[in-house]
Assembly symmetry: none
Homo-oligomer: 194 residues x 2
DNA sequence: ATAAAAATCATCATAAATAGGGATTTTTTT
DNA sequence: AAAAAAATCCCTATTTATGATGATTTTTAT
């Protein structure tokens, strides 16, 4: 069984060591490193080959316009878990893939992390046929209005499809979606020109 | 010497025939077809393999929000020349690659069309280094603000670079620019993910 | 038959991008 | 030294896109 490498970002040493101790006696997980700040993590080479991040949300800029994931600069496929002491804005918490609190038991923590691994597999949701059509149109460089007109649906529906595409693929930018459409053979280079 | 195939779109038969006659005795050009309206041209198969369009601007919807080129549906690499009788709004005329008037002599017309061919070669302008950098950033999915910050320039400069990139490449959409960056080996698929 | 998934449409507020100008300062080239 | 090209910055107005939510109708699968 391959162990998931965890990185903890938590300012309090007591909590840091407590979590490390609990996880060290939990099968399937190993704490790779602990950091006290996000900056420390960013500068460290270990940060690049973790399988899971556990971070205290108070270390984040809560009023930042970027998502938690963007602030941390962590790839979409790697889960980020919130480590919660007290009440935190719901909008922040829901950006995490899971939450563990300082009151959780060892078993609860283990369950949450294991559930996360499962979720992550199922998260590879397939795009529906309609979503693929919309994605192709986006990759062709069409605007939402143009897509709406050519597919005989309202622009609202196009926007909804696009939101679902972003949610399923985890890709936000048009360039990323174009690359996705190309590598998945949904479209060829020749079909993109304007 | 390969002759440039010209399509003329002009409502007046006299002007049509006059221009055809002049061009037939001008080296390097051959009139492929004459149309009286834009719609006629659009429906005709010949329209697809012309090297140059000469059109009377009064046939266009001058108050249309689309550019002349968009209204005609002509590729960026093919020059469009205005055929002018009288005064026309400067904003319209400047959208053309050249203008010839009914008072021009055969030599003047020939010169203008030859100059156009030259221009056209030089129009394959290379992107500057800075522009390539910006293009790569765009293809990576970065916003103008992000590009500005990471390159230590103002967002206005980024926008200006982008405008010039669009002008030089003739590619307007982010997906098109991404494909361009990929096929020109400015970026690899791996570098695009968010 | 019912639950789940997919497709549809909507609103409000905000963020980002585009179009179409102008303008100045550096660099490069001739 | 002058001209041309590249890089920089700014503006206004308009169009597009996004984020956050909510909801209804079809399809599809159990």
């Amino acid at each position: 069984m391959i162990e998931k490498k965890i990185i903890i970002i938590e300012p309090g040493l007591i909590v840091q060591e407590g979590l490390r101790s609990i996880l060290s006696s939990t099968n399937g997980f190993v704490v790779r490193h602990c950091f006290s700040t996000i900056e420390q993590m960013r500068l460290h080479p270990y940060a690049n080959d973790a399988d899971l991040f556990i971070i205290n949300p108070t270390l984040l800029d809560l009023h930042h316009h970027n998502s938690v994931r963007q602030q941390l600069g962590i790839k979409n496929e790697i889960p980020i878990v919130a480590l919660i002491y007290s009440f935190i804005d719901h909008n922040i918490v829901q950006q995490f893939d899971a939450e563990i609190t300082i009151h959780d038991s060892a078993v609860q923590i283990a369950n949450k992390l294991v559930a996360l691994k499962r979720d992550n597999k199922n998260e590879n949701e397939e795009l529906s046929e309609r979503e693929k059509e919309i994605l192709i149109a986006v990759a062709k460089g069409m605007s939402n209005k143009e897509i709406a007109d050519s597919h005989f649906i309202s622009i609202h529906t196009v926007i909804t499809h696009r939101k679902n595409i972003v949610k399923k693929t985890g890709i936000k930018s048009v360039s990323g979606l174009t690359a996705y459409a190309l590598v998945n053979n949904l479209i060829s280079f020749e079909e993109i020109d304007n």
